[in-house]
């Protein structure tokens, strides 16, 4: 992967002829092909014949590669196609990356857009996320700005409905046994998911939470590998829910332990934006012209941009760099992605002062 990245980065062209395409899982291939066909017909308007031909062949090759595929694989698909003007060499790479593609991105440019792949290679820090209670558990990971649920488990430990009467003690014992059996099998699942990440040297820490005391019991007894246990960050987190919602809550409740994690910074920024919007104190800016004007005044502290390959956003990003504005580029992995996209046309910023 790293080798491929280096190779791709070497490519550059004098005109916008290099095609980059990221397809997240779940996207129908036919939609993508239709989009490419449209792009192909638009490219007919390019005046320079050499450029026109190069773009056209990049797009048609991409279409040829995609058509036989019935379904986008679990981690999505990435395509890079184009002609090297120096050597006249034509290449097309298509592969499913090691981690999930979360954005839908298409562009023809003077270089290949490898930044989203670099993210996958570079974000080496992974946090394990575990929620456990008497009869349920969730295993997940935090990588960059993404929270992923790896497994949700159910233990079928009975409550107290059918109890009472003669066999109380026997039932109590059975329930306690089932409960510990559940913790044991949850621990085994945790090992199977997290040990490989640990062994690759990328597991930075583990958050452990859940309602009540099961998490403490799970932590105190040796249900997980000792090397994983050493990585559990304290305090354990009190939580009400399992699943993705529980994982998000756990990460936000532990944000002091997770400083500099993109996920936490983005979530904090979104909450701050909502806070200022609700207070209507004029500290939120959106609209391409308004953002640009505010940046030139040095007034924009941070900017949230939904990356859909929109060229306008690219411009804003370059400008941001000049004026010392922090930029967070987000994709569909953020729950509020659609809000940022629809309500603010893909870009919204927090101001340092009212203007």
């Amino acid at each position: 992967m790293k080798v491929l990245l280096r190779e791709l980065k070497k490519w550059s062209a004098p005109a916008t002829v290099l095609l980059s395409l990221y397809i997240p899982p779940g996207r129908p291939v036919s939609d993508v092909v239709n989009m490419l066909r449209q792009e192909a017909s638009i490219s007919q308007n390019i005046k320079l014949k050499r450029t026109r031909d190069a773009v056209e062949s990049a797009i048609t090759t991409a279409i040829d590669r995609l058509v036989p595929i019935t379904k986008v694989p679990e981690n999505g698909l990435v395509l890079f196609c184009g002609q090297n003007f120096d050597t006249d060499e034509f290449k097309c790479y298509m592969f499913s990356p090691p981690e999930k593609v979360t954005i839908y991105f298409y562009r023809t440019d003077k270089q290949f857009h490898t930044e989203f792949l670099e993210d996958m290679v570079e974000v080496s820090e992974v946090y394990g996320l575990l929620i456990v209670e008497r009869d349920q558990g969730t295993i997940g990971v935090l990588r960059g700005s993404r929270i992923e649920v790896l497994e949700e488990m159910e233990g079928y430990v009975p409550g107290k409905h059918m109890m009472g009467g003669q066999s109380q003690r026997r039932i109590d014992r059975i329930i306690e046994e089932l409960y510990h059996e559940f913790l044991k099998s949850f621990g085994e699942k945790v090992n199977s998911y997290l040990l490989p990440i640990l062994e690759s040297g990328r597991l930075k820490g583990i958050l452990l939470g859940g309602p009540g005391y099961a998490k403490k019991e799970f932590y105190d007894s040796d249900y997980i590998d000792y090397r994983l246990k050493k990585l559990v960050l304290l305090p354990l987190v009190d939580l009400g829910y399992q699943g993705e919602v529980g994982l998000r809550e756990m990460v936000m409740k532990s944000k002091d332990l997770l400083r500099n994690q993109k996920y936490v910074e983005v979530e904090d920024l979104i909450e701050e934006l909502k806070f200022h919007l609700a207070k209507d104190d004029g500290l939120v800016v959106y609209g391409k012209d308004e953002i640009s004007k505010a940046m030139q005044m040095g007034a924009v502290d941070s900017l949230l941009i939904f990356d859909d390959g929109n060229v306008e956003n690219e411009k804003i990003m370059q400008e941001a760099e000049r004026y010392g504005t922090k930029v967070y580029l987000v994709g569909e992995e953020i729950p509020e992605a659609e809000w940022v996209r629809k309500t603010f046309n893909g870009a919204v910023g927090k101001l340092r002062f009212k203007i």
Partner: protein, 435 residues
């Protein structure tokens, strides 16, 4: 089973305010616990050096509950008064287990709210994070209009048995409940001491100033809610047991319609069809179950993996609706910033708790007139009311409130707090194949 009319009664309130102790005392005084159970609880309490907690131990049976002195799971018990046959549900008060409390509340017809009069305890229950406050909101949301407020631990009020403290607690609770739409003429306040049984079944010698009914008398003043027997069957699942030799036994309360032995039913959202083999309540066999009946039933053709809490049973001829998306009128009761599209709280509808994404804010409503104030607002904030579309992130059964009220109202929770409540106006069904 008793021929008396049946009521489901839940006991709610902030952690440690004396819910389990009150239920234990009530059942013991009325002779609804056998010798063996009482002895077992006494011995266990003694062994842990917690003799004062023996009444709570009658209900808190899990090892973890006894060691920590905290209720975790719902406990269902039966008992009778002069007039009624009750299924009493002891709920946990600890904030991490609010989800269990809501499941219980969704299955109840009436509630006892236990509020401690002890200095500091009452105050923390009514603080912004407190569960006295949260349980009141949730009880109302889940359709509980009949509430008896038991003001507990009067023996350790300052000074003990103080009428002024009773009034202070009563007034605060009364004001708060009123603001959430309770009809206060139906709500009774009773000062009790559970460990001595004062004003539980017999009058207190220490609180002669109180002339109202005892808790037991107040229970007989509750009303039986109407039974929608003519509507299609809807039975949300509260728990599933797998009993060796018996098979899979889902447990829940019939909300509408009638279920008979031999009926062809379906479990939604899975779309699993099955046949009812037997119906039971409190270890008594029934031929049919009606609205309000809390039952376990044995089914042919179902594995325990096919059913879970939050599923809804209906007849194969009129299966419960699985929502692809639904529209609701919500009120934001608490939120530090604002809610926008993409926000994904946990929704508690009947016994289900599923995260649902706000896919559209259709309109903000004028709080006074209820009319549309702004179309597609950017966000909504605390105190505001809005029409919102939700997309469940996992399959979920809901119905229009106008068709099936118990399946059409919900609470929204996030970051350990209740952020809002809502009522479903419209459901876009998703197609589910019956297997």
């Amino acid at each position: 089973m008793s021929q008396k009319p049946h009521l489901n009664l839940i006991v709610i309130g902030h952690v440690d305010h004396g819910k389990s102790t009150l239920v234990g005392r009530l059942l013991m005084e009325r002779g609804f616990l056998d010798e063996k159970t009482i002895k077992e609880a006494e011995e266990a309490a003694k062994k842990l050096g917690k003799e004062s907690e023996k009444y709570a131990f009658l209900l808190d049976k899990l090892k973890e509950e006894r060691e920590r002195g905290v209720t975790i799971n719902l406990t269902f018990m039966k008992f009778e008064t002069k007039k009624y046959f009750f299924t009493i549900i002891d709920a946990p008060g600890h904030r991490d287990f609010v989800k269990n409390m809501i499941t219980g509340a969704s299955q109840a017809d009436a509630a006892i709210l236990a509020v401690s009069a002890r200095k500091g305890e009452f105050e923390s229950g009514m603080s912004i994070e407190g569960q006295t406050r949260e349980h009141i909101i949730l009880a109302k949301t889940m359709g509980l209009n009949q509430v008896i407020v038991a003001i507990t631990k009067m023996d350790v009020a300052e000074p003990p048995y103080d009428q002024k403290r009773f009034n202070e607690v009563k007034d605060t609770i009364e004001k708060f409940m009123k603001s959430f739409g309770f009809d206060m003429s139906k709500v009774k306040f009773i000062p009790v001491v559970s460990i001595t049984g004062e004003n539980v079944t017999k009058r207190s010698e220490n609180m002669k100033w109180y002339t109202g009914p005892t808790l037991e008398e107040a229970l007989d003043m509750l009303e039986i809610p109407p039974k929608p027997v003519d509507k299609p069957l809807r039975l949300p699942i509260q728990e599933v047991y797998s009993i060796s030799g018996v098979g899979t036994v889902p447990v829940g309360r019939v909300e509408s319609g009638v279920m008979k032995v031999g009926d062809k039913i379906v479990f939604m959202p899975a779309g699993k069809a099955a046949e009812v083999r037997s119906i039971e309540t409190h270890h008594t066999k029934l031929d049919k179950a009606e609205p309000g009946d809390n039952i376990g039933f044995n089914v042919r053709g179902i594995d325990k993996k096919d059913v879970k809490r939050g599923d809804v049973v209906g007849h194969a001829t009129n299966p419960p609706t699985v929502a692809d998306e639904f529209t609701a009128r919500i009120i934001v009761v608490w939120h530090p910033t604002a809610l926008a599209v993409g926000y994904t709280p946990v929704l508690h509808v009947h016994t289900a708790s599923i995260a649902c994404r706000v896919s559209e804010i259709v309109a903000r409503l004028d709080p006074k007139t209820g009319k549309e104030a702004e179309k597609n607002p950017q966000f909504i904030k605390q105190g505001e009311s809005a029409i919102v579309k939700f997309k469940p992130i996992k399959p979920l059964c809901v119905e229009k409130f106008s068709d099936f009220p118990p399946l059409g109202r919900f609470a929204m929770r996030d970051m350990g707090k209740t952020v809002g409540v809502g009522v479903i106006n419209d459901v876009k069904p998703s197609k589910v194949e019956i297997k």
